[in-house]
């Protein structure tokens, strides 16, 4: 019976042993045609981006918004000046760093506390029963609602801004760590139990690694919340940061400064989320193929 089945061969094919059915993406070579070029995903990305910028430029140059919409060229020129000129004593880089450092400090503080608490809650029913009711009171509260009380408590300095970021990032960090553990397939624990592993083996070998992907998803949400929070805090009271640039632009009716500030926030926030993705790839190498990275 076994004669009719091909045995796996060790013919030096590395990861491609056919008998072992390794799942691999196979790219097919097709000739280049105009149809293929214009239906190419990346080509269409370029088309949509360039069209958007062109339309923006045309509208910005026209008198449609009575000068309230700066064109992309004006924004770029304005920010080219910002690289050397200072606003409230800081260049553009200074303001970027002011916001980024607040985000990073708040984000790091929140995740350092929220993730362990979330893990503890999921792993221990008593901890869960004690923390959950209080957590559920704070959970639906939008972090921006804390801005006023933060300023009353901590003044308009750095601590109030970091406090708001911590509040805004805490909830998704904790929730994801919690659900990450709760959603683990019970069979994985059975594997450890049958082999004679103890609770410690279960937690270290199964709970922690299994919850990493959910924790990283939580960190991504937290990071985007952190940027929302830092902006809110800077819009209300600040002498530095990207939110401050936007407020200054508004006060001086300088739309290129406002729009530029918005664009820079998008770029910086995207860069920080990229760092989280890179960190995830380092910590969870097994997810690589699954996500198509």
């Amino acid at each position: 019976m076994s004669a009719m089945i091909k045995q796996p061969t060790n013919s030096g094919t590395g990861d491609r042993a056919i008998a072992n059915e390794v799942q691999e993406a196979v790219g097919e070579k097709k000739p280049m045609t105009i149809y293929r070029v214009i239906t190419n995903e990346y080509f269409l990305y370029c088309v949509s981006t360039v069209t958007f910028l062109l339309v923006w430029q045309v509208i910005g140059q026209s008198d449609m918004f009575k000068g309230a919409l700066a064109s992309p060229v004006q924004v770029v020129l304005r920010f080219d000046r910002m690289l050397t000129d200072t606003l409230a004593g800081l260049t553009l880089w200074g303001h970027i760093w002011a916001s980024t450092s607040r985000v990073l400090i708040g984000f790091a503080l929140a995740s350092a506390f929220a993730i362990p608490i979330g893990l503890f809650m999921a792993l221990n029913p008593y901890v869960d029963a004690i923390i959950k009711p209080v957590f559920d009171i704070f959970k639906p509260m939008p972090p921006i609602a804390w801005v006023s009380i933060a300023i009353l408590w901590f003044g308009i300095g750095e601590p109030s801004k970091i406090f708001i970021i911590v509040i805004g990032t805490f909830v998704p960090c904790l929730l994801n760590a919690y659900t990450g553990i709760r959603l683990i397939e019970p069979e994985l624990y059975d594997v450890v139990k049958v082999l004679g592993g103890n609770r410690r083996d279960e937690i270290i070998q199964v709970s922690f690694p299994a919850s990493f992907p959910a924790i990283f998803a939580g960190l991504q949400i937290s990071l985007s919340n952190a940027w929302t929070c830092v902006l809110a805090a800077e819009l209300v009271a600040s002498r530095s940061g990207l939110g401050f640039i936007i407020v200054q632009g508004m006060k001086m009716s300088d739309t290129s400064l406002v729009i530029g500030g918005m664009v820079i926030i998008a770029i910086v926030a995207w860069t920080t989320s990229l760092l989280v993705i890179i960190l995830e790839k380092l910590v969870c190498p097994w997810k690589r193929k699954l996500e198509g990275f």
């Binding site: 094919t13 059915e21 390794v22």
Partner: protein, 251 residues
């Protein structure tokens, strides 16, 4: 105590009973497994096979009776029990190699012994080429082979398998059954193989226990003294298969 081939009794199940409230699922089950024996257990669907295995593997407590390894009550922390689940249960964050090594790590085998065993088993089951891939990069059948290898790697006192190949197509199943027999013959493990596939049971086992419907007890014992490799069309094979089928049909 020895079996018909003169082998020592390794595993003894005495009065194994399990109730869920008023529902009696397992009704005083008694049997023994000899050292190095390949025992198959077949029974109709819903006869409590999973409960039976969960009791044997100590995942759930028994209501009465117990399982004994070398005369002592089985204890996963002390004895080497291994289990291959119906669903592939690889740890997604470990490579194929580390998944196979996992059982030995939990049991604190020395490093050099783990290395040697790993190389032997990976070569035996043809996973050496894919040792450094993660489970999500290999097929479902390979994941099950990883679980089987992991179970054999700990030199188990008793290796329990819960319909491990139930979800595979027939060609792969034949291939993996041959591989299983090869592993069992080479490593001389004691195997308890639960399946609802009668042909599979007759193909792999030395002895078959037929379970009744709920409340489950052992209805019959069938010896399969056929030479290996076995042929599915050998008249003796067909006869035993028919005999077991009849036993299951007459509840």
């Amino acid at each position: 105590m020895t079996d018909y081939l003169g082998r020592r009794n390794k595993i003894e199940v005495k009065n194994l009973t399990r109730r869920f409230g008023d529902l009696l699922v397992l009704d005083h089950i008694n049997f023994t497994v000899a050292e190095g024996e390949f025992l198959a257990i077949v029974g109709p669907t819903g006869c409590g096979k999973t409960t039976f295995l969960n009791c044997l593997s100590k995942l759930i407590p028994t209501s009465e009776g117990d399982i004994y390894v070398d005369g002592e009550v089985a204890n996963p922390k002390k004895h080497n029990l291994a289990f291959v689940f119906q669903e592939p249960t690889c740890l997604p964050w470990r490579t194929v190699r580390d998944n196979v090594a996992y059982g030995m790590e939990v049991k604190h085998f020395p490093k050099d012994r783990i290395e040697k065993k790993l190389n032997d088993i990976l070569n035996m089951v043809g996973l050496a080429d894919t040792a450094n891939l993660f489970p999500n990069q290999v097929s479902a059948s390979m994941m099950q082979r990883i679980a089987v290898s992991r179970a054999f790697a700990v030199d188990p006192d008793l290796l329990m398998m819960d319909e491990p190949y139930g979800q595979l197509d027939i060609k792969l199943r034949y291939y993996l059954e041959d591989e299983l027999i090869k592993l069992w013959q080479t490593l001389k493990s004691t195997v308890l193989f639960v399946t609802h596939n009668i042909e599979e049971a007759v193909y792999v086992a030395e002895r078959i226990l037929v379970l009744s419907n709920k409340p489950t007890h052992i209805k019959a014992e069938v010896l399969v003294d056929l030479p290996r490799p076995r042929s599915l069309i050998d008249p003796k094979f067909v006869e035993i298969r028919k005999q077991v089928t009849e036993l299951i049909r007459w509840w």
